[in-house]
Symmetry: C2
């Protein structure tokens, strides 16, 4: 992959093209961040002309190197590179439409591998941490499919801000522990943040910090092309450690007056400084004009890996049909084969056996079926394995340090890091990640859960201990507002199954949802099996359904989710005994129920009195309750006590539901 023939131009000239496009686009948009692309133009030029394995003509090539611009505010860097290296849709017109509605060049990069954008970045810390997941996925899929098919690097450009964020600690500590030697982080060490010099707030010895995690570190002048090239080459030889390359750079390099100041971080340079920069860097061309020889040099760099792609495609073509199908199934992010049969068999058994399992236990038992059947499933927990029931018998841990054949990741007490790694694995392909923690700690994962929803990754968050049913651990560990807060996130599916049957159905839904993340909200405490008559249909898939119709005309409907559905059933029994026709509606998913047509929803909800019961706050329920509906649930934080006492203490009982119905009749 010598670039000597491909790039006859000096690298400095090629880098000037990035600087010019970045400052011109920000100028045209009248907003944006020119400083970072200008500062890292030299490093990026070395990476993209000498090392990065990518093919703009085959952008979704499974074995491409992954490149993550963690410092997403420097989006013009990646847009410039996409244009210059020849991603077809990234035209100069799109660069001119930087930060405009409907352009391919929004303020922060939005995931689209066909443009070379592996993930959405912007919220600091997410990029570098998600990239750890990509690098882990590379090693896990390599262990499964071998070097012929999976053998690539993950490169990251990260800013000071990325490394100040806590999630970078979680993910990078784990990357060091696992020895992800294919991960190379280029740190834009420019000493400038929005408030001014990083000396105001950030005086870590960052390389020492990363060495404490078990990383290699290399420090270079980020404007010395040869030094950067040497550093990356060295990093690629690492056998058991990820590498941090500290690239000492000057933010806004090239701008004679604003370089090395926070004035060029997040604002246009201004016409005068743009002109002065053109002069200073020897770039006499008009705005958005890239001379042909520069473009040719960049396009040559963009086609550097075409031979590697062809070779890879040749190896792929020689596989037998089963191997090829397995690889495509894994990387294609489709619905796992055989899923519905496995789920149906499980449902049939448990609806007959009627176990009194906690839904976390039911989930564990579903996984005992799914994990062997779906080789893409890779589980884990943030150090709550015995509580989350996420580990299946007879599966090995992903050990790391060269040994990646397992199916289970020990994430440590790193909920946020876990969620970012899961997103990275889902983005990489080859893996359907699921990971567990207590639902309370959804708060810790929240930025990554939101990003999963925004990026439409199939990340499956297993959140157990989903209410005051947690019991003695008390209010710090009892979710109260978390169901509402999670339901608030667009494109996130929140699933709260009522029993073992619904748990299996919810797992099926989560796995079949190829374009978005799901949360499974599961109980700590035991619940009875309520779905005792087997049906093959996935009833949870409609979000809400009549679990028990009223005897006689329906006068009341009790709506419930999860562990409270059995309370609803008890209340129904009491009400029916008094001759009050009462239906129970289970709503495992608000989002799926909302998506049903009005006639279905109206029929399920009924015209009579409606009362909902959920061991959580009311927010979000009113839409199902109508004008005079009742709600039995929480109004504040929980308490520490055995859970049965808490349900009584907070008045979440069948009696309370019964009374709430009768008060409204």
């Amino acid at each position: 992959m010598s670039a000597a023939t491909a790039t006859p131009l000096p690298l400095s000239t090629m880098a000037s093209a990035i600087r010019a496009l970045a400052m011109d686009a920000v100028e045209a948009a009248k907003s944006g961040h020119p400083g970072m692309p200008m500062g890292m133009a030299d490093v990026a030029t070395v990476l993209f002309t000498r090392f990065l394995k990518f093919d703009p003509k085959n952008p979704t090539w499974a074995d491409r190197d992954r490149f993550v611009l963690s410092a997403g505010h420097g989006s013009m860097l990646i847009y410039s590179l996409a244009f210059l290296t020849g991603y077809e849709r990234m035209t100069i017109e799109e660069l001119k439409r930087f930060r405009q509605l409907g352009s391919l060049t929004p303020g922060h990069p939005e995931v689209d591998p066909t443009l070379g954008i592996e993930m959405t970045t912007g919220p600091l810390g997410q990029g570098v941490s998600t990239a750890v997941g990509m690098a882990l996925a590379e090693r896990i899929t390599n262990a499964r499919f071998g070097d012929d098919l999976v053998d690539h690097y993950t490169y990251v450009i990260a800013s000071d801000g990325d490394l100040m964020e806590g999630v970078s600690h979680e993910a990078c500590s784990l990357a060091g522990h696992l020895g992800l030697n294919r991960l190379i982080v280029l740190w834009d060490d420019n000493h400038i943040s929005i408030d001014g010099s990083t000396d105001l707030s950030f005086t870590d010895d960052t390389p020492a910090r990363f060495r404490s995690y078990g990383w290699n570190t290399i420090s270079v002048d980020g404007h010395d092309f040869a030094a950067v090239e040497k550093a990356i080459a060295e990093a690629r030889t690492s056998t058991d450690k990820p590498t941090l390359i500290a690239c000492r750079t000057i933010i806004g390099k090239g701008a004679p007056n604003k370089a090395n100041t926070h004035g060029c971080h997040g604002s246009p340079l201004g016409a005068d400084e743009v002109a002065a920069t053109r002069e200073a860097i020897g770039w006499p061309h008009e705005a958005f004009v890239i001379p042909q020889e520069v473009l040719s040099a960049w396009r040559a760099a963009g086609s550097r890996s075409a031979d590697a792609f062809a070779a890879w495609a040749g190896r792929f073509g020689k596989l037998d049909n089963a191997q090829r199908a397995a690889f495509e199934q894994a990387m294609g992010r489709g619905v796992p084969a055989g899923l519905s049969e496995a789920i149906a068999a499980f449902k049939e058994k448990v609806s007959a056996d009627k176990p009194g399992w906690a839904t976390r236990v039911a989930s564990g038992n579903v996984l005992e079926v799914l994990v062997p059947a779906v080789p893409e499933l890779v589980g884990g927990s943030a150090d709550l394995t015995p509580s989350n029931n996420t580990k299946v018998k007879n599966t090995a841990d992903v050990q790391g340090k060269g040994s990646f054949a397992g199916r289970y990741v020990r994430y440590g007490v790193r909920e946020h890091g876990m969620a970012t790694l899961m997103n990275g694995m889902a983005l990489h392909g080859g893996i359907i990640p699921y990971g567990g923690t207590f639902m309370q700690f959804a708060d810790y994962c929240r930025p990554a859960i939101r990003l999963a929803a925004l990026m439409k990754t199939r990340s499956i968050f297993v959140m157990t201990h989903d209410s005051i049913g947690l019991g003695e651990d008390g209010p710090t560990h009892q979710p109260v507002e978390h169901l509402a807060a999670l339901r608030a996130i667009p494109n996130l599916l929140v699933l709260r199954p009522a029993d073992a049957v619904e748990t299996a159905e919810c797992w099926q839904i989560a796995l079949e949802r190829v374009n978005g993340p799901s949360v499974l909200a599961l109980t700590r405490q035991n619940v009875p099996t309520l779905r005792t008559e087997h049906v093959a249909e996935n009833r949870s898939a409609r979000g809400g359904y009549v679990l028990a119709e009223a005897d006689g005309g329906r006068k009341a409907t009790i709506l419930a989710t999860g562990s409270e559905v059995s309370l609803a059933m008890e209340a129904r029994k009491a009400l029916q005994a008094e001759g009050i026709g009462t239906a129970v509606v289970s709503i495992p998913s608000f989002e799926l129920f909302e998506a049903q047509d009005d006639a279905y929803k109206a029929a399920v909800l009924g015209n009579g009195v409606r009362v909902a019961v959920e061991a959580a706050i009311r927010q979000g329920w009113d839409r199902w309750l109508g004008a005079n509906g009742g709600f039995v649930g929480m109004t504040g934080f929980g308490e520490s006590a055995p859970y049965q006492e808490l349900y009584k203490h907070f008045g979440i009982t069948a009696e309370a539901v019964t009374e709430a119905v009768k008060a409204r009749l």
Copy 2:
């Protein structure tokens, strides 16, 4: 403070009392975490008998050392110590009621300084990070009030899990940067987590990590009393660095079979092992029985600092009235003096001037008035100072490294760390902390915001750029669900003012709310002044009010918050022009409005058509809208574009509101 006379018993015997109480209480509760208290009993015994400055008879003594049990699951450690050292309300009966409803001994410690519990802990990482805020508050109040009044240490016991959490990186990095030499963290380095050995997932060189932050580190055998004593003594001599003492311990020490296993982390030892432990540690006493000589020794340790308290009280008594009042005002967490006058004057001026400020700008201008008037206010931003408008002219930064006289903290790109530090400052007393970031990053702060609500701390979170009004930065930076998600947190006040007048009112509300945190949701974009007739009354204090009554009979009510109130006013104008009597209700706070009596709420909401407009999701609005209400807002993520285009693109316009009303008439 020699302890030789106060503790004639061997420290090992005193530590045995902790071990016995911990295992017995967990056994009685049939749940809990005996391993950690047993493992750290020796370290805690050294700290509480030799160093900690505290007086159970005067537990809220302002100059006491602060002790934070970050590893809150080991709550029996702090409960045992509270009983043994003589906090009056912490009786042996309370220890027997461990983890029972209404006891003083819930599963995780809940803030109550009268019991020696400085903060609520349990969610890992929060304790150590909040303690950084306490240590910072100590130095800032020391700079204000001098050594005679403020001169103490902050001690933390932290677990592996605490240090794996990302927030520990943010806070500890900042602690090193600021040189908080009075902060001493005792790390329970026991090599065990819930999943098993920490080697499964955590192989950081933690002391090296902390040195990279600029900390001292000392490593000791946590069961060698003399070594621990020497280490703490050495840590106390540090002049410009915090200290991490890595205490190599054996989890569950004393339990002959379960020590050093994860089997003793989160479960009772069981009767046999409890009996075996009694044997092994030479503790023949019945469960919950502490022999008098042991209790006497502990009580003597608990009264060690009585003289120091008396001396401090003497110094305090010699202050002049003004000095004493200033200190009491600061430490007492009361309502700042002169607040309502300052706010009223500001309101009078802006209602006359009618500026078209963004509410973030209005907030900055309110702070220009408040910060000089309220010396307890200490501001900051997570590296978004110029965007959050949080820094007041002529205030100095808190520099750290011995220079703590400033009023502004540069938190760096550490939103979560900022929020924990703010909580710590509020808990310490002497400071009313406010801190800014983009509202989007409320997600990063969320665990700490929740804990502030649970602990009832007056932490004021300034969240600017509160909607798609952010514009070009796009969906990664545009809050959509955040208002709903924040409103979901119990005891959190979410304030979204409509203009400069409401912004001032909301600041007053937040400052007067001594028992809970507030979020100020503020716009990036300009908004007109709507409250142009000055009234002294704080109208926002009722949460919602009629900003503009209908002309003619009220047929419709438009409900709105923040930047959308001006859209509501435009829609009202259009509707009135068509003869449709329309009122506009501004609802700066759902929580405050909810707390009004039904008659008030009914009068404000009116009987006619109701339509709400908010550039956010609908969740939470239905309770105000009634059966046939309309909502104009967001249904999914935002986009990158100039904000005016986004409002049009998403149909959040006066026209849409007008149509929504007319469709319902």
